[in-house]
């Protein structure tokens, strides 16, 4: 455990329901070792909604998968802890982890709607999901849960009797959300749940997700790169860059007074209604995960970098409420 993690644990007074400490993941490929996730820390309370944003390859999905312990070879969780309500998921046996999925933590993957089995009714798929992750109960009890889940995503109960091909993209995505909340997990991770949907359906799906999250009071992590969705519905935003969280902050702070230079460039690159015709991209490109730069990972693209950034890794500076920023411009030491 790196020392700043201890400090983070000591100084973050939040004591959240979900605690991620020092989580690291690498992929071992022919090209070498890719550091996909480097010593990531995060805390979340019940009922909180966090948006996890970053460019492709910044480690967003890896983080979601690592929390579910679903990293497959050549990937490996190198260390850390993912604690939910006092239990460290990473120390559970495989069998215990299987039972935790869906009932403690659930994951709605990218393109989830294409994961539905085309030859089974929705009902059957929900029963199967239940039985895989919870001890068998009689079908009536499960069906009550299924009906409750399907109505909470604003679909009619008749959908349970339908096959996936009879549903539109938005409806399928809602079925996947219904399966995800079937066992009322404490943490829901939704990985780009709307990336294949048009704006109207996207809005409906995100609103549904927010509604069920509020109903069951779980924590929600929305993974995506659309800052618009984060502004519309999240409480907090965690910004990832090259396998690290560079800033976690309240959504208002992220949009109005971002702290990290990367967050600042990200916010000023957004197309708003007021700045029509102005474009401000972030120059340069993200570093290769096989060959990360020394010091701060962002310094080659950072407009504000100075001597120290090229050699010394910036440690997360704890702000109030478990938020932090990892940049040499902030914090004394």
């Amino acid at each position: 455990m790196r020392w700043q993690t201890l400090e983070y644990a000591a100084r973050s007074k939040m004591n959240g329901m979900l605690q991620i400490r020092d989580l690291s993941v690498s992929y071992y490929t022919d090209m070498g070792r890719a550091h996909a996730l480097n010593h990531v820390n995060l805390e979340l309370r019940s009922g909180e909604k966090l948006g996890l944003v970053g460019e492709s390859g910044s480690g967003k999905s890896t983080m979601g998968l690592a929390m579910m312990r679903m990293i497959k070879p050549p990937g490996r969780i190198e260390g850390g802890a993912v604690t939910i309500g006092g239990t460290d998921l990473l120390s559970l046996s495989d069998k215990e982890m299987l039972k935790s999925r869906l009932s403690t933590i659930s994951y709605i993957p990218q393109g989830a709607m294409n994961s539905l089995n085309p030859v089974l009714k929705i009902k059957r798929q929900m029963i199967d999901a239940h039985n895989a992750h919870r001890e068998n109960r009689n079908t009536d009890t499960i069906m009550t849960l299924a009906r409750e889940a399907i109505t909470s995503v604003e679909l009619g109960e008749h959908v349970l009797e339908m096959f996936p091909h009879e549903l539109s993209g938005g409806m399928k995505q809602r079925v996947c959300i219904a399966i995800g909340i079937l066992l009322q997990p404490q943490v829901i991770i939704a990985d780009e749940p709307t990336s294949a949907l048009d704006v109207v359906t996207q809005r409906q799906v995100i609103e549904t997700l927010n509604k069920v999250q509020a109903k069951i009071g779980s924590a929600l992590i929305l993974i995506g790169h659309d800052m618009g969705l984060m502004a519309q519905s999240m409480d907090k935003v965690a910004v990832m860059y090259a396998g690290e969280i560079v800033e976690v902050n309240e959504v208002e702070t992220v949009f109005n007074a971002p702290k990290h230079p990367y967050t600042q460039s990200l916010i000023s690159s957004l197309p708003r209604l007021e700045n029509r015709g102005k474009f401000q991209g972030i120059p340069g490109m993200a570093p290769s995960l096989y060959q990360l730069p020394d010091g701060c990972k962002f310094h080659p693209r950072c407009p504000k970098h100075f001597e120290r950034c090229t050699s010394e890794i910036p440690l997360p500076q704890i702000l109030e409420d478990g938020n932090y920023v990892a940049c040499h411009l902030h914090g004394a030491s």
Partner: protein
């Protein structure tokens, strides 16, 4: 009157088993091309926007109607005329990864069109053209030439695709979702490249997208399609800032603006039980919050004012349909 390309009453029917799906319904407009414009074609998946692009490029034939290039239907051009059409009308596609051959340096992609359309050029001249095109899209030629596709980011690759299209100096670029597969932070660079093409090289651009935010930022005019029919069209500012058609209003209300002061307001209520109506009526009937009996008859596309058209019974009056061209 000069014109780059003209669509005359284009409709496209796809046969799905025994059913017929109308992907495009009687679309006409004339792209004059002077001064150069960026025209957005917007709509959700299934609205017919990619079909429209493919028809303009001559990749598929319309079921009825003609695409006219310099006074002639593009499917009846002689081979030299067709080659000229190809030179003047170029495309950029959605996927910045699929068009590259991983075994060649990216120079190959840029050089092939030059060789094809300007055979007499020497190697040094070809290189100069390639460098100019790369600079036009905001790339440094020495950082790009000689490198392989896997060494470049998605944003760089997509800008190379734009450079490939303009290396032979077309008059019209049809860009089908050019930024949808590129990271948000890199989109700005590609959009900037498109705008600079219009300004510095006088290239007209048909920008096909479902993303009204970027459409608002780059384009001069917009055509909003829904299930193959034009719902609303006109100059970009009135259409986005004061949308009139219920469909456009729904779309614009659903944009997740990255702006805390512009949050989604009252929730959308759609009643999925309303039956679809046949070919005769308004295509948006089943989802429209303002539907009424007259909507069972097809509305006509009429101008509300200069630079703003809508096709909806809320705005019907006497008179003939207004041509799209005059308001774009």
């Amino acid at each position: 009157m000069t014109s780059i390309i003209e669509l005359r009453g284009i409709s496209k029917l796809y046969k799905v088993g025994k059913k017929e799906v109308r992907a495009l319904n009687n679309i006409s407009f004339n792209l004059e091309g002077e001064p150069a414009k960026i025209i957005t074609v917007a709509g959700e998946s299934g609205s017919g926007k990619t079909t429209l692009a493919s028809i303009m490029l001559g990749l598929i034939k319309p079921s009825t109607g003609n695409v006219v290039y310099q006074g002639e239907d593009i499917h009846h051009l002689s081979s030299t005329e067709y080659k000229e059409f190809r030179k003047n009308v170029q495309a950029v596609f959605q996927d910045p990864f699929a068009v590259f051959n991983p075994f060649y340096p990216v120079d190959h992609l840029l050089e092939v069109p030059i060789r094809k359309f300007n055979r007499q050029l020497k190697k040094a001249q070809r290189k100069k053209l390639m460098e100019e095109a790369l600079e036009a899209v905001g790339l440094q030629p020495r950082e790009i030439l000689g490198r392989y596709p896997h060494q470049l980011s998605g944003g760089q690759r997509q800008r190379i695709n734009v450079a490939r299209a303009i290396v032979i100096k077309p008059k019209l670029l049809v860009a089908d979702e050019p930024v949808s597969m590129v990271d948000a932070s890199l989109r700005a660079n590609i959009l900037e490249a498109l705008v600079s093409l219009r300004e510095n090289y006088n290239v007209n651009i048909i920008y096909i997208t479902h993303d009204l935010t970027t459409a608002y930022h780059v384009s001069d005019s917009i055509i909003v399609l829904y299930r193959g029919s034009v719902m609303e069209a006109g100059s970009i500012i009135p259409v986005i800032e004061t949308p009139q058609h219920p469909y456009t209003r729904l779309l614009i209300n659903s944009i997740p603006w990255p702006d805390l002061s512009r949050k989604w307001d009252n929730q959308i209520h759609e009643n999925p039980d309303i039956q679809e109506i046949g070919e005769q009526g308004c295509r948006f009937y089943s989802r429209c919050p303002e539907r009424m009996d007259s909507c069972l008859q097809a509305p006509r596309l009429l101008s509300l004012k200069k630079g703003h058209l809508a096709c909806c019974h809320l705005f019907q009056r006497e008179g003939a349909e207004s041509p799209l061209t005059d308001h774009l």
